[in-house]
Amino acid sequence: MKINISKIIIFSFVVFLLFIFWQGLKKNNSYDTKSLIGSRISNFQLNEINNNNQYISEEDLKKNKFTLINFFASWCAPCRVEHKYLLNLSSENNEIKIIGINFKDKKNNAINFLKELGNPYTFVGKDVKGKISISFGIYGIPESILVDSNLTVIKKVVGPIDQAQYNEILKLIQ
């Protein structure tokens, strides 16, 4: 059997291809927005849910050491489950402030929701059509983004915050 350059190339290519397939099997192919971590949020203005004249913007958030921006809605069942962690974070910790954004919801339903479960938010913004969520890279609720005083994203939680995520957040804000 003559040892030929082209044969070696073909063999190597096949080995490489099969190797990639094998490695590819181990990869998780479901989507997440981990790439958002490290980017800065900017250029936003949120109107208060009760009062259109009141609003919050970048400057206000830069005053906080850490801010957790939480997207929620009264019709969202997992939001109820994560709510206690939000309450814990807001009451026991002065390092972090929580902003709530009410997503595709009716004002009264949101207010009742907060009356019933407690209000961990220093500000409740509204996003009736959902368009603001897109600026934050949100694609479902609940979702939460943790930013520092420079408004750099340091953590993103897709879905409800559970015990493990809660502990991670506590670690990050030390």
Partner: protein
């Protein structure tokens, strides 16, 4: 009970496969011209038991025998009878059993129908095919066994996915598998030919019919899948460049290239090595496609439930297959001398292969690139329809020109009169295209080229058909039909794409939407309870503002209970000139319904053209029988 019968039958087939390999290896050493009777008997038994095992599974579905996990997971007592049967192959394990069936049946048929061919060649083919069968049997028994049982026996099944309860989708897998899996036999024959040093022309004759059969069924399978997607998936599209669709397209390009190259091999006994490569490549592509689709490595709307252990299995099988084929090819292949004149039919067939290779590689690269990028750099990208359309479509233009004039060239060399006929017809095509352009709507330069080339191909092929009927030369007839079909397909897809209208709007019950040509009245909602679903049907009255005709279109939202799913059934009015397409979905937490309305000209002609392509293949199969 059924579980035991099924597993026993499969193990029996396993034993018979081993026996066949053993008996064939022994028979190889005996230097007479005839294959021993025992081998025929073993093969016949193997086929019988394999078919019986498949029937066992089907009986399990018909009887709703939930002691079989496979029936439990994929069926339900309220499923209509026809779909219970189709459920047998509409899942991963059952479809694997179908794979084995086709592998075995083709193995037997190839053995029997090729009795005029060299004994060594046939025996080697049989051995390789049975090694493939063993590979799949082991996979089936150890990882994906449709006969695994469950105890205690559940009273009801988990139900078949409602989207799969459709006649087109029920026959789609068997059709496609005859193509996909049928190409295994010429993979084995190629290795058999290498090992036995078989003559090129004779090899071509032995696999010719099998290549054509697999091509016809692969084409049909793909068409039926597209028709199903159009009528069932509710988005008005028929081709999404989705991984599963691409996986069926890859072998199709290879089989088409092979089919054309076989002509050269048989006529002039050249391109032997290339034909062998194509034979090996086709089945390798089939298995690669299966790997990509069933291992969960790719995200798709059609995937079966995925399981990483399956992936490892198929990958190991694929690797063994590729390396064995490579080693045998490199050690046994002889170098050929090539002799091709520029103006010869051989060059045009090579050109066909060149373009087919390009289309194949584009689809393959498009599918694999995200995987490579993710593994090597951890970045995730999507490669979707825009990529495939932009890369492939421009080159379809020269391809169609070549398709039209290629077959007119003679073997070895030709005269120049082809040039004048081509010039005349090109002018005709340009004229017709300009006519459409000025009277029906403006479109881009690329579209002009596409239409011109397609019309050119249609005119040429049509004249060829008339020629062949007049001169009674039968062998041009099937080729002209398929080429005509291809030209028509591109033409009607072009028209459909250019002149389709699409509207997307929200409406409440009782409201009316006016578009430029239609008035859409959302009259009311009807709620109905059916056998295994609840339907919310929108009653729409469509008034054509140009001719005041009235149509009723009733799209549905279906709520299935087992498994709990929501599907959207489009309301489609198919006419010879166009399709009207209406889908309705509810906007969450509001009174609004989101309506998508499409008018798609000549939609049915797309299906007709595609069927004409496969018709050419079927006609050629029947013609061959007469000439034998």
């Amino acid at each position: 009970m059924l579980s035991n019968i099924g597993i026993s039958l499969v193990i029996l087939v396993l034993v018979l496969s081993f026996s066949t390999i053993y008996a064939a290896s022994l028979d190889l050493k005996i230097s007479n011209r005839f294959i021993s009777e025992n081998i025929y008997k073993l093969s016949l038994f193997q086929t019988t038991f394999t078919i019986l095992s498949f029937f066992t599974l089907i009986i399990g579905f018909i009887n709703s025998d939930f002691s079989l996990i496979n029936v439990y997971e994929n069926s339900h007592t309220t499923k209509p009878f026809f779909y219970k049967i189709a459920g047998a192959w509409g899942n991963h394990e059952g479809s694997l059993l179908l794979w084995v069936n086709i592998l075995v049946i083709f193995s037997y048929l190839f053995l029997v129908f090729n009795h005029t061919h060299n004994k060594q060649f046939r025996l080697y083919t049989l051995i390789v095919q049975n090694i493939l069968i063993l590979g799949f049997l082991f996979f089936l028994l150890l990882n994906s066994n449709p006969f695994n049982s469950i105890y205690p026996i559940p009273p009801e099944g988990m139900g078949l996915n409602p989207i799969l309860q459709d006649p087109a989708l029920a026959i789609h897998p068997p059709l496609l598998y005859v193509g996909f899996v049928g190409c295994s036999i010429y993979f084995s024959a190629a290795i058999g030919s290498l090992l036995s040093n078989y003559d090129g022309k004779l090899f071509a004759r032995s696999i010719k019919t099998w290549v054509k059969i697999s091509w016809c069924f692969q084409t049909l399978g793909i068409i039926v899948g597209s028709i199903w997607a159009y009528y069932e998936l509710g988005w008005g599209g028929f081709w999404f460049w989705d991984p599963v669709e691409n996986a069926s397209l890859l072998p199709w390009f290879a089989i088409t290239a092979l089919m054309h190259s076989l002509i050269v091999l048989e006529k002039r006994n050249t391109l032997y090595s290339w034909v062998i490569v194509l034979c090996l490549l086709t089945f390798i592509l089939s298995v690669t496609g299966t790997f990509l689709v069933r291992s969960g490595i790719l995200n798709s709307v059609h995937t079966f439930a995925s399981d990483p252990s399956r992936g490892i299995y198929i990958l190991v099988f694929l690797s063994l297959m590729i390396f064995s084929a490579l080693i045998i090819f490199f050690s046994k292949n002889h170098n050929e001398n090539y002799n091709f004149n520029l103006k010869s039919r051989e060059i045009f067939i090579l050109t066909n292969n060149w373009f087919m290779a390009f289309f194949l590689l584009t689809v393959l690269i498009g599918m694999l690139y995200p995987i490579f990028l993710d593994v090597l750099t951890n970045k995730k990208i999507s490669v979707g329809p825009p990529f495939f359309n932009i890369v492939i479509i421009p080159l379809v233009v020269p391809f169609m020109f070549l398709m039209a004039i290629g077959p007119k060239f003679g073997w070895i060399k030709s005269k120049n009169k082809i040039f004048y006929k081509s010039l005349l017809l090109s002018l005709g095509a340009v004229a017709i295209n300009l006519f459409i352009f000025y009277f029906f709507g403006k479109y881009s330069f690329l579209s002009n080229l596409i239409f011109t080339a397609a019309i050119f191909l249609i005119l040429y092929s049509f004249l060829d058909i008339i020629d062949s009927i007049n001169k009674r030369t039968k062998f041009e007839f099937p080729r002209a039909i398929s080429h005509l079909g291809f030209g028509m397909l591109v033409f009607f897809i072009g028209i459909n794409h250019q002149f389709s209208t699409e509207e997307d709007f929200n409406l409440k019950i009782g409201e009316v939407k006016k578009t430029t040509n239609y008035e859409i009245n959302f009259e009311k909602i009807e709620i109905k309870e059916s056998k295994n679903y609840k339907s919310v049907t929108g009653i729409f009255k469509l008034i054509n503002l140009k001719n005041s005709s009235i149509q009723n279109l009733n799209p549905e939202i279906r709520i299935y209970s087992s498994p709990e799913t929501l599907t959207y059934e489009a309301a489609i009015k198919t006419k010879i000139t166009s399709d009207l397409y209406l889908t309705m979905s509810n906007v969450s937490r509001s009174d609004f319904y989101n309506i998508k309305f499409q008018k798609k000209p000549f939609m049915i002609w797309i299906w007709i053209s595609a069927f004409i392509i496969s018709l050419g293949g079927f006609v050629q199969l029947t013609l061959k029988k007469n000439e034998d």
